[in-house]
């Protein structure tokens, strides 16, 4: 910045620190709650400092879970979430990169129609077609299964657009040189385009992993068997009972465990995360 004004610098840091605290406070409270015993939530105010029961709360939730809430141990739900998030991310990336490749590097009848068909998925979030989509999945016998959790969510217009946008910036001459060098379409895709897309794939994976992890409505609809509960929807069931029977320590331990994987991904892969987020929205 141009001026050197100590007051302005102070104000800047103050704003940021207040921002960071406000953003972190709800999670801090949750963490504190997850370290106490059940009895600590009877009094008038939640505890504000850590308690001694952290390890036992977490291990209890991880290994046993609250059977009263009809939810399995967190370990199972975390595994389901992991399978779902990774499969959705990988699935979206594969089918989108193939579609984008077809649309950019080939000319064929109905190319425009294909593009618009993919585009339309942007306008049909699951929230607006809940019942008929549920019916399709149910008719296909995909309720209470991994494919039912995953496949209906793997169409992706944004990922297709990101790859299309990226392919358009790859110099035409690269494909021409590869053709002169004797590479056919599949060889060019594998040897040249895929390696060049590595960063985009990684960035997209981060975003899509989070997308898959935080899904709530869809798992809520298609799973009734607790074997297939994902952690995000399982937590809701825990919380629903927590109010009547205040086991906030367990609920919050579960909340912390459910948040941790995607938050870690964001923090550890911040550069890719920012790139993925900003570029998919173009």
């Amino acid at each position: 910045m141009i001026e050197n004004r100590p007051f302005l610098a102070f104000l800047t840091h103050l704003v940021l620190i207040v921002g960071v605290v406000v953003v972190a406070f709800p999670v801090y409270l949750a963490f504190i709650a997850s370290t106490h015993g059940s009895g600590d939530f009877m009094r008038g105010l939640v505890p504000l400092l850590p308690g001694p029961h952290m390890i036992e709360n977490y291990s209890y939730m991880f290994n046993v879970g609250l059977s009263t809430a009809g939810a399995p141990p967190l370990s199972i739900m975390l595994l389901n979430s992991l399978v779902m998030a990774i499969s959705i991310a990988v699935g979206k990336i594969i089918i989108s990169i193939l579609s984008a490749y077809a649309i950019v590097y080939f000319k064929f009848p109905f190319r425009l129609l294909a593009f618009w068909t993919i585009f339309i998925t942007l306008m049909l979030p699951v929230e607006v077609r809940i019942i008929p989509t549920f019916k399709v999945v149910s008719d296909l016998g995909m309720l209470n299964s991994y494919p039912g959790l995953i496949i209906p969510l793997i169409a992706s217009a944004t990922a297709t657009f990101l790859f299309r946008q990226f392919f358009l910036t790859v110099p035409d001459e690269l494909m021409e040189a590869a053709r002169v060098d004797g590479a056919g379409p599949l060889k060019f895709f594998r040897d040249i385009l895929l390696p060049l897309s590595r960063t985009n794939i990684a960035a997209l994976f981060v975003i899509l992993f989070i997308y898959g992890w935080v899904q709530y409505l869809w798992p809520l609809l298609v799973t009734t068997d607790s074997k297939y509960y994902t952690v995000v929807m399982g937590i809701k069931r825990l919380a629903a009972t927590a109010d009547a029977e205040p086991q906030w320590n367990f609920v919050m331990a579960a909340v912390m465990l459910a948040m941790l994987p995607p938050v870690l991904v964001v923090i550890l892969m911040q550069r890719l995360f920012v790139k993925g987020l900003v570029e998919t929205e173009k």
């Binding site: 021409e176 053709r179 002169v180």
Partner: protein, 355 residues
Amino acid sequence: MASIDIKGVKKVYSGTVTAIHNLDLSIPDGQLVVLVGPSGCGKSTLLRMIAGLESITDGTIAIDGAVVNAKEPAERDIAMVFQNYALYPHMTVRGNLEYGLKNRGTPRDEIDRRVAEAARILEIEPFLDRRPRQLSGGQRQRVAMGRAIVRQPKAFLFDEPLSNLDAKLRGQMRIEIKRLQRNLATTSVYVTHDQLEAMTLADQLVVMNGGRIEQVGAPISIYERPETLFVAGFIGSPPMNLMPMDGALGAQAFASLDLPSGTDVVGIRPDSLVVSQPQTPSASFSGTVELVEPVGGESHVHMRLAGSSDIMIISVPGRTEIVEGAPMTVYAKAGDLHPFNHQTGKRTDTPAANP
């Protein structure tokens, strides 16, 4: 090695825009042929049709006697050097050189031998394990050439390969390409918009304009005897002065000369104009010096013709005493004049054009 024969080739885009009109051209075995012309003249399109990167609307292209119209680029046994080099950014230099050979199933030891040889010829041995982005523009250019050489193709196709380099490097690489082509004696087609590059490189120069060939010939013969007004204006720097004959000025300047009938434009190269009147019949022009551009070994004098808004450029050797604002008279020998008709766009002293 092979000849390339282009017969009646046409390129029409989306049914309406004609980029190439019925073009015929024979490229003899082992020659370096340069296609030159302004942007949009169809030179790149023609090259890309030879490469197989553009479809051919009509006519045939034959390489080494075999028509290749329906063949994929890879099946035509040609190699191409692109303007932006088109090196595979994620592969090392060695990977780039090898890729085409691997795709063809060349045996490993043969690949190694050819890569080593190309690297030696182009002096890129120290960079073989680097990535393209770690190289300078000139080095990338060499790698692009290397990728073409290792293939030992029937023909090299160059698409403005030097235009991304700075002026000094461009001059240097021009010489190298010429030397390399001489040594390998591989048929080469070279596209450029830079007429100096075209003149210095070409065995045969092909001047194109508006999707047609204007003139084919050795560079110097084209310079000395441009067949059309377009070629006259395009080849040569500074460009040829093209003086219209209509009006008092033209009549007066060329009065004493016996120009072919139908001549209405006369072209004079800037270096054909002299300040002292020659003994032989000559045309003379008077005016005022408007600008003097010293370019080193010679100077370009811009003279505004008296009673006209036309500017004439005169190339004079060395530094000149001529000062801006001074009156000036220059002369051109009758033999140095290039008579044209602007309607046909052709020379008027060619037997065919002047029966």
